[in-house]
Symmetry: C2
Subunit: 471 residues, 2 copies
């Protein structure tokens, strides 16, 4: 054994890797600085030497981390390390920037090395002219595969799938499959399941590679395969695909066309980043931050965000209009102006809590038509509990500070009313938007904020006037 141990160079010594990556697996700032110093000094060999041991995912991170104006120089210095895999790991915006600086034949070289789905991801965002130039420079086979993928809608299973897969007839036995895999030139190398198909190329079952390896050669695939499988229609939205992978704990899945024929395969590693993105985008959408990518050009971020700020200006005007109705009461009793933002602010917070829960539950298919009313009832009960707690606190507090028990009673009642309304709106608005086939994460905030702001001011100032406290 000592021989083979000598032959096995250990993975890079820990202290070496620690030089580049911190304990959270992120590139160290001083490592990044050292690379950039060599690039700026024109020492391309030195920069390459530093970057070479990095995993492609880390090289991609390096490009994301450095300033925009340093990316092209870095790309030029370490050009031969900037391979297809690095591009496929890279943030969309950063990749687009680097790709823009390349010639069509260089892009075609990179795309040709990638699996179809990764090549499509690079090519789909290009200008049409550039796209055509790249496609012309590609191998006919790669070109056909990419052109076909581009015919499917963006963010659909057809764009996500790869065409390289292993499909065998059901009458084959394990031995035949192994011999086929060993002999086959140009067959896929990275796959996790073998698909069993009928003569019309319809999938009829799937066999995990571990089952093939654990089974004697004479056993038929038909006896080994699992017949129940999740088939992905080629036009299914990628978010749906991600939910299926998660729900059924899939490693790979067959993609079928409208006639039910096997046309491709999606593997879990292509789905993981979609699961991540889709789950993480709710917080960005709810806040009105658009795609919310720190590498997005400022002009795009500005457009995405200012829209929602202007919408928020509209809802704030509604609230202001309500306050204006009570101008006389405020002039008479300025304490109303002092306290009114509390009612609106806490109502808004309570509404946001409920809304966040509802939006997540909708996204994860946990809140469905079957339990909508139960969930609404649950959120209202919760809102009444929260409302009662806050009402008691603010009621006593305001009553004492202003030596005015009636004012305390009014703000307590307004608080309870507004938190209850917030609870109802927080779940009802997202559910309604979903029924109307809108993304509940996108527009819920504007409506819920408008409701909690307006109702907060209306309840507080209205009760103050109605109770004869002021106005």
């Amino acid at each position: 054994m000592s021989d083979s141990e000598l032959e096995t160079p250990a993975t890079p010594a820990p202290d070496e890797a620690e030089d580049r990556l911190d304990e959270d697996d992120r590139l160290r700032p001083d490592f990044v600085r050292r690379v950039l110093e060599r690039v700026q000094a024109g020492d391309a060999d030195g920069a390459r030497e530093l970057v070479d041991p990095l995993h492609p995912a880390d090289i991609a991170d390096l490009f994301e981390i450095v300033d925009r104006d340093e990316r092209q120089a870095l790309a030029a210095a370490i050009a031969d390390l900037l391979d297809a895999e690095v591009f496929s790991e890279m943030n969309d915006w950063v990749r687009e920037e680097l790709i823009d600086a390349l010639e069509p034949h260089e892009i075609a070289d990179i795309a040709g090395q990638l699996e179809t789905d990764d090549a499509v991801a690079i090519i789909e965002d290009m200008e049409e002219d550039d796209q055509r130039a790249v496609l012309r420079a590609l191998d006919p086979d790669d070109r056909a595969a990419i052109e076909e993928a581009l015919t499917f809608p963006e963010e659909s299973a057809g764009r996500l799938m790869q065409r390289d897969l292993i499909a065998v007839p059901e009458h084959w036995n394990v031995g035949q499959v192994i011999d086929y895999l060993r002999s086959g030139e140009g067959l896929a190398t990275d796959f996790w399941e073998v698909f069993v198909v009928d003569p019309q190329h319809h999938p009829v079952g799937t066999v995990q590679l571990s089952w093939i390896l654990r089974t004697a050669r004479h056993i038929a695939m038909a006896d080994l395969m699992q017949r129940e499988q999740t088939l992905i229609p080629v036009d299914m939205d990628q978010e749906e695909v991600a939910l299926r992978f998660q729900k059924y704990a899939l490693i790979s899945a067959a993609v079928v066309d409208q006639a039910g024929r096997l046309v491709g395969m999606i593997t879990v590693d292509d789905v993981v980043h979609i699961i991540q993105e889709e789950a993480g985008e709710d917080v960005l959408l709810l806040s009105g931050a658009g795609e919310g990518d720190i590498n997005e050009p400022i002009r795009d971020s500005y457009r995405a965000r200012v829209r929602w700020l202007i919408a928020n200006l509209g809802t704030a005007l509604v609230a202001s209009f309500i306050i204006a109705l009570f101008g006389a009461a405020i002039e008479e009793m300025v304490a109303l102006a002092v306290l009114m933002p509390i009612v609106a602010s806490i109502g808004g917070n309570a509404g946001t809590q409920t809304m966040a829960v509802a939006v997540r539950a909708l996204a994860m298919n946990q809140l469905t038509r079957s339990n909508t009313w139960r969930t609404i009832g649950r959120e209202i009960r919760l809102a009444l509990l929260n409302g009662a707690t806050i009402a008691v606190l603010i009621g006593f507090g305001a009553g004492l500070v202003f030596s005015n028990p009636a004012l305390g009673a009014v703000i307590a009642a307004a608080m309870l009313i507004n938190i209850a309304i917030a609870g109802l709106a927080g779940v009802a608005v997202p559910v309604l938007l979903e029924r109307l086939k809108q993304d509940p994460a996108v527009a819920s905030s504007v409506f819920v904020t408008m409701i909690t702001d307006s109702m907060g001011f209306l309840a507080f100032l209205g009760l103050a006037v109605a109770s004869g406290l002021a106005g």
Copy 2:
């Protein structure tokens, strides 16, 4: 081929499955109702007949969807369909409720059928007495594995890993590995990679099953294996584990103890739901909704949410205090009371946008020490653009409506100042919290809201007084 086709029962006809699941793969409300009607009518056979064709993940969904008081009756009716796999797919709260009603030996039966990580997930939340009773009722092997897993911290790789894996010495060739897999009794059946280890059981490489299947029997594993692999320390936090799986597109990974010995394996299907949860929890944490699970008992949800509402009450009081300083100005010019919530509300919204972007970027390791200043600069530039746009709109609007250009100028200036501050706070607060080893998603909101509310009122009312407009 027609013969084998006859032998192959097609997957359930589409219209049959459509009877149970809607186009988004969720259980249909009328199907759920039919099941419950049979349960309530005491027709256990009828209920079982309906539920039987469902995938375990859908049976788990069924329990999540029905009301709390119907779950035990449903569980009793379809007890023999309620197997280990269903439990492992089930929401934590719902599972706990059902488990509470079972005897220790019934729980032990279920746990014994599961992979270690799923069994641990069921047992780890039980009361200590019940836990001991279940452990006593388990097979000694299962018991040892689960007890060992329970010694690792919650949410660590040690709890997530399974012990069943395939490890072979590097001098073996492909043929030996296949013979070993075929002969081996009690070996794992579901695995995606074979780990190659040295005599001290340190992992030295990994081989995808597809490579084994595509390679001739005489080739040595040492020549086939990929030496670079991502090793997961047994005490690594599950969020870190999920980030590694995503970054390096892993299907499975070796878990090593402190001496670097292979002790377990984590597969991507166990990580996918963590990626989903961790990415999705930011929106819940930022809104102060705790775990935000619609199946969580109301008492727990109340505790989680009311804490943040009380914290928000504190920050609202700070804002009120600032307004109170300007009581005289408001009495003189009630338009200030009408307009002041606009400045605070839009500032709050702008702060939330920036905060959401910063929190996501931190969670995805995109915002690191290397690009903190660049990102802060980016957000401030964005804030100035947004602020200028909103300032012009509200400035002209307010100036016209109140026929008071000075008032328009004051609110425009206050708006610009508050949005700029919101941009700075929205990125600086999460970054600072992370440097202090706090979860930026948990506490950022309270601080950012306090800053944008207070600064909004202070800038607007303060400028109104300083410019001689009022007070």
